[in-house]
Every structure is written in C-alpha cells, then in structure tokens.
C-alpha cells in the first residue's frame, strides 16, 4: 500500500516535471524560431503562426474542452481585429498616450463582449444545433461587415499605422523581428492564461458539460451558464488574436471574420488534436506552414489542406498531438522497435497513395491551366506525363487505389503491434488489466 503511494507520488512528480519541460521547450521554440528562420518573409510567417496558435487555442476552449463545434469563431477574431484597428486609428488621431503594444487587450474586450452577447443567443443547446446557429451568426456578421462600409471599411478593409503613437520599452514596431517578439510575448501570455483556465473550476465544469450535460444539470449546475461563460472567454482570446493580427499586418479586411477563416481554425484545432491542450498549437503551426509552403508551389493548395483534414478525420481522429502522446510512453518502455515493421508496411504504400493523389490533382489542375493552350507538356517529379490521354488517368487512379488497398495488411500489423505495446506498458507499470465492463 505504502509502496504504491510512493510510486504514485513519484509518477506525479515525473508528470509535473514532464509538463515543465514542455513549457520550457515551447518558450525556447518561440525565442529561437526567428534566429533560425530569419528572412523577412519567414518572420512574417512566424508572426502569423503565433497568432494562429492563440486563435486555435481559443477555438479549442469551445470545441475540445466544452464540446461546442463552432463554424463562426472568426467573428470574435475579426471583431477583435477591427476594434483594435479602430483604437489604433483613434490613438494616432488624438495622440492619447496609450501604448500600442497593449492594444490587443482592446481587441480582447471586444471579443469578450461579442462572445457574451452572441453566446447568450447561441449556446442554449450544444452539438449540432449550436453548430448551425454559430454558422448563421457568423454569416450574419460577415454580411454586415460588407454592408456597413463606414465601420468595416468595405472590401478594402481598414488600415492603420502601428509604428505611430506611444510605445512601451522603446519599441518602434518598425522591423519584423520586433513585431514577431511582441506577438510571441502575447502568444506566451495567452497560452499560459488558457492553460490556467483548464485548471480552474470553470474549466473542469466545461469538460463535465462536454461529457454529460444531463448529469451536470442534475448536480445543480446550468450547462447553459457554463457554455455562455466559456464562449465569452473564448471570444476574449479570439479577440486578442485578432488584435495581434491588426498590429502585425496593419490592415483588417472583412475576410478576417469570414466563414473561410472560421473553417480554417476548426481544421487547425482538429488536425492538431482537440483532446489535448497543446494539440491546437501543433495544428496551427502545421496548417499555417502548409498554407505558406503549398501556396508557393500549387494553386490547388486549399484542396490539399482539405484532403489532409479529411484523411486525418478518417484515420487519425485524435490528431497529431495524440500520436505524439502515445509514442512517449512507448519510447520510455523501449517498445518503439516493435512498431517499426508495421509502420514500414503502411508507410511505403501510404506514400505511394499520397503521391498518386497529388498526381491526380495536379493532372486535373494542369488540364485547366495555361499549359494546355501553350501545348506544354506536364511533368510530375521529372517524369513527362500526357495528361490528355485517358490511359494516364486510368493508370494514375489504378495506382492510387491499389496503393490504398495495399495499406491494409500494414494497418492490421500496426494495430496488433500497438495492442502488444499497451500490454507491455501495463505489465511494466504494474497496472492490472481492467475487467471487461
């Protein structure tokens, strides 16, 4: 009994140490990233990435932690961005000595306000009803932004000059490195605050409301109240992210609160892993990186992101963070070798399948591109392919389908290997087998 308790305490300490390690790693990554990717364009991408991190984490307060699937979260982001921009313009015009660096806070207050007002209307029910209503509210605000040209600046948006006005610590916000580090500080503060939220009673109530609203009601709490509170706070952090955007780009357009943006933040949170706190951080980094990288090479980049999302949804439903999470204990117990044969058996046909998908998309894209008119040939990975012949299409589809089918034995192998790994870990940690329910 005593030994077990000691064991538990040790395990707890180890977990906490592990947690601390993760925070230090994150802070280091934020600090060091601009030293490695130090070109001007890369710094802009990094700034967008840290903004996306805050936005995706705020989304996950709703989705992962409270079970509210929103299709309109960009509203709070966009309103935060607009309010920040208005505040910035007001400061520039009147010369009030309020530091520009703190302006995202104004965006946050705006997001908080709209998060509360619209949350009261839309969070009476969770699940599918909330999803539909959030979409309706999102489209309403998006259309309003187009109609109210005075406040939203029409299609061209609203711009301001973040370098003007009063600044903290002698900053000027003139070069991208300064802007990045300012955003990184905001990002770190927001990550810490949102992590702290998960440890508060409200954070725990949010999880309870997600898992079993009836039972929460039975205990005398109102799931609706909890949802409204979380929605308000999520609105705040989305607003801060919007304010960060306004300071980084110096311009805010109605696109910021549009549906496309709402869909993208959903994909970020999901791809990264909504069930784990740091999942959306990974998702934001990966999706932003894909956007930037792919849009350099192909105009079909949105299709690839969509394909990535659907493939993740079908085959890795718990996201990238979950994949990492289960590999850590496996590595600690030296079980990774067991997994390699299965991974190789899936990896090889899987890579062929992905290449086949890319080939099909690129062929379809080429058929509509200017190459056809210029009678230029289509090359894929250095191989010339006649994309106007039905035979190449047939071959491409057959190869892709065949590769997909060939993944099957490998997936079985992987699953069996994981079962064995989990069994080994359980016996190693002395946890008894759970009795079947």
């Amino acid at each position: 009994m005593n030994g077990e308790a000691v064991n538990n305490v040790q395990q707890h300490r180890r977990l906490r140490a592990n947690g601390a390690g993760r925070w230090i790693l994150m802070a280091l990554a934020l600090l060091v990233a601009p030293l490695i990717f130090n070109s001007g364009a890369a710094l802009s991408v990094l700034s967008l990435m840290v903004i996306a991190i805050v936005f995706a984490l705020s989304y996950n307060m709703l989705f992962g932690q409270t079970g509210l699937l929103s299709f309109g979260h960009a509203v709070y982001y966009g309103m935060g961005a607009y309010l920040t921009m208005h505040a910035l313009r007001y400061l520039t015009a009147t010369g009030i000595p309020f530091p520009v660096e703190l302006l995202p806070l104004i965006g946050g207050v705006g997001g908080l306000f709209f998060g509360y007002v619209l949350g009261v209307i839309s969070t009476r029910r969770a699940g599918i009803t909330f999803a539909m209503i959030s979409l309706g509210v999102g489209v309403l605000m998006e259309s309003l932004a187009v109609i109210l040209r005075h406040w939203f600046g029409g299609d061209g948006g609203l711009s301001g000059d973040p370098t003007a006005g009063t600044h903290l610590f002698g900053l000027t916000l003139t070069d991208r490195l300064q802007i990045y580090y300012l955003m990184a500080v905001w990002c770190a503060v927001c990550i810490a605050a949102m992590y702290y939220f998960t440890t508060t009673p409200l954070g725990h109530m949010a999880n309870a409301v997600r898992d079993n609203p009836e039972r929460v009601e039975f205990m005398g709490f109102s799931p609706y109240q909890v949802r409204v509170h979380v929605h308000t706070l999520a609105g705040f952090f989305a607003g801060v992210a919007g304010g960060m955007l306004a300071l980084t780009t110096g311009i805010v357009t109605p696109d910021a609160l549009g549906f496309v943006n709402s869909g993208q933040v959903l994909m970020m949170a999901y791809i990264g892993g909504a069930g784990i706190f740091y999942g959306p951080i990974l998702g934001a980094v990966v999706v932003t990186y894909m956007q930037v990288l792919l849009s350099n090479y192909t105009q079909a980049w949105q299709l690839y992101i969509g394909l990535f999302f659907v493939l993740m949804l079908l085959y890795v439903p718990d996201g990238i963070a979950y994949l990492i999470k289960i590999h850590i204990p496996a590595a600690r117990h030296r079980q990774l070798l067991r997994l390699i044969p299965g991974y190789v058996m899936v990896g090889i046909p899987g890579a062929v399948f992905l290449l086949g998908l890319v080939l099909i998309v690129q062929m379809a894209y080429d058929l509509h591109s200017v190459h056809i008119f210029l009678n230029q040939s289509f090359t894929f990975l250095g191989v010339e392919i006649d994309d106007r012949s039905p035979w190449s299409w047939l071959l491409a589809v057959a190869a892709t389908g065949g590769a997909f089918w060939a993944c099957r034995p490998g997936t079985k192998r992987v699953r069996a290997a994981w079962d064995e790994v989990f069994r080994q870990i359980k016996t190693a940690e002395g946890v008894e087998e759970e009795e079947p329910a």
């Binding site: 599918i128 309706g136 406040w151 959903l266 299709l303």
Partner: protein, 313 residues
Amino acid sequence: MLETGVFVVLNGLMYGLLLFLISSGLTLIFSLMGVLNFAQASFYMLGAYFGFQLMQWTNYWVALVCAPLIVGLLGALVENFGLRKIHIRGHVAELLFTFGLAYLMLEAVKLGWGVTAVDYSVPASLKFPLFSVGGVSYPAYNAFMMVVSVLIFVFLYLLLKKTRIGIIIQAALTDREMVSMLGHDIPRIFMLVFGIGCALAGVAGVVGGNILVTEPTMALSLGPIIFVVVVVGGMGSLGGALAASLLIGVLQNWMTTVDTPLASLVGLTLGPNAPFAELVNQPVAQLAGIMPYFLMIVMLIFRPKGLMGKVEV
C-alpha cells in the same frame, strides 16, 4: 403596385420551393440518421454543374433526369464508404466529415469547371413568356420550376406514404431498433435516404442553377440559408421547413424591391451619428441578404423551438 405584388409572390414562391427542395433532403436525413449534412448545398452545386455538363453533351431533359440520379448515387456512396465508418464516433464527427467533404467538393468543382460562373442557360424550348401583368412578362421556365418542385414533393409524399419502402423508412424514423429487429437492413435504409436527400438537392441544382448563377461559391452562399430554414422551421420538421422556406423566399423577394431606407419605412429619421444609423439608413433591398440570419436570431430569442419544431433548440 399590384403587378409588383404578383411578381414578388411568384418569385418568392419559386425561390422558397427551391429552398425547400434542398432543406427537405436535409431534414429527412437529419431526422432519420441524426446527421446534419453540411455538404447538402454542395450536392445542390454538383447538381447544377452536372446538369450543365449533361446539357452540353445531350439536352436539358436528359440532364433533368440523370444529374439528380448521379448526385443521389454519389450521396449513397458517400454514406456507404465514408459516413458509415464514422457513425460510431458520433454526430459531431459526422458533421465534421460532411464539412470536410463540402470543402473538397468546392475545390473539386473549381478544378473541374474553373472559378468563374459557367454558362448554364435555360433550355430554348422553355424560353418564352408565360403571361404578362402590367406589361411585365413572367418567364415560362420559372413556372416550370415550380411545377417540377411540386411534382417532386407529390412523388416523395407518395413514396413515403404509399410504398413499402416508404413505410419502412417512416417506421425507422420512429423506432430504428424495432425496425432492425424486424429484419430490415437499417444501414441500407440509411444509404437510401442519404441518397434521396442528396438527389433532392441535385434536382434543385438542375432546375435552379440556370436561373441563379452556377459558380463555385453557390454552395457557400446558399448553405447557411438552408440551415436557417431548418432552425426557423423547427429541427426535423418537414412542414416547418416548408413554411420557413416560403416565408424566407417571399420576404426576401419583397425586400429586394423596396428602395426606401429601413428607418423611413417605420417612420423614423435618424441622423448619421445615432446608434445603428448606418444599418437602418440602408435601403431595405440592401438588407435582403442578411434578413434570413436576422430572422433566425429573432426566432431563437422569442421562439427557440422554431415554427413547428417539437423541442427547443
């Protein structure tokens, strides 16, 4: 005044019936399977594009019959090979899957037909004025569209009420497990209903795509309105969806004809600095696009269960 009234009502009914064609499929799928098909409007878009393509290759009548069938088949395939796999993970996962699908369909249509609108026009045999009121003529195609929609509903009604398969579907709506116990293949019924629901959207695409515009953004601009229809009508209520469709159709068409600002319509004059001045000083026609969403919010505040819904949303 009278002629505007007639046209507002006729055009509104036409648009409303189109909305109902799409939202009835959504409602049918939702009430049977609990799945909110985010891609419903995307199937409508596919219907329009397939109709356009088939019309290029053959003629309109072949397109009218075949395009919805192809869309329905595609829907059945999606249910069989996609949704069924995720069913076990719950409705939110299913909704996310159809969301991903809608995204992919949009990109696929852009790849296949380009980002600009295609030239999908009304067939020549239906391009004549049916009648005219006060010098304004009413196109025969619009009447044809309404007739097609009504015929589809009669067909659907007979299918649900009078055929064996319809009775099984109805029974499955009430008690899925019991129907399964009686030896009926529930997954196959799911596939069938999902296919029918998508085919209904496909019909709307074929008959509506040439009056409205056939372009890649059509799914995104109509999809949210379909959801509004379902929320305003009451979740899972076919009658409510019909009422809400017609209400939104007629109201929106009426609004597009009114040029006076909203404020002066209710006898208010507001200076430019008054709160909401920019909004209420807009001509009513400008506000037609946001009316459905506004209606939804008003409905949620004052009558959360919708026009004919049974439970509060």
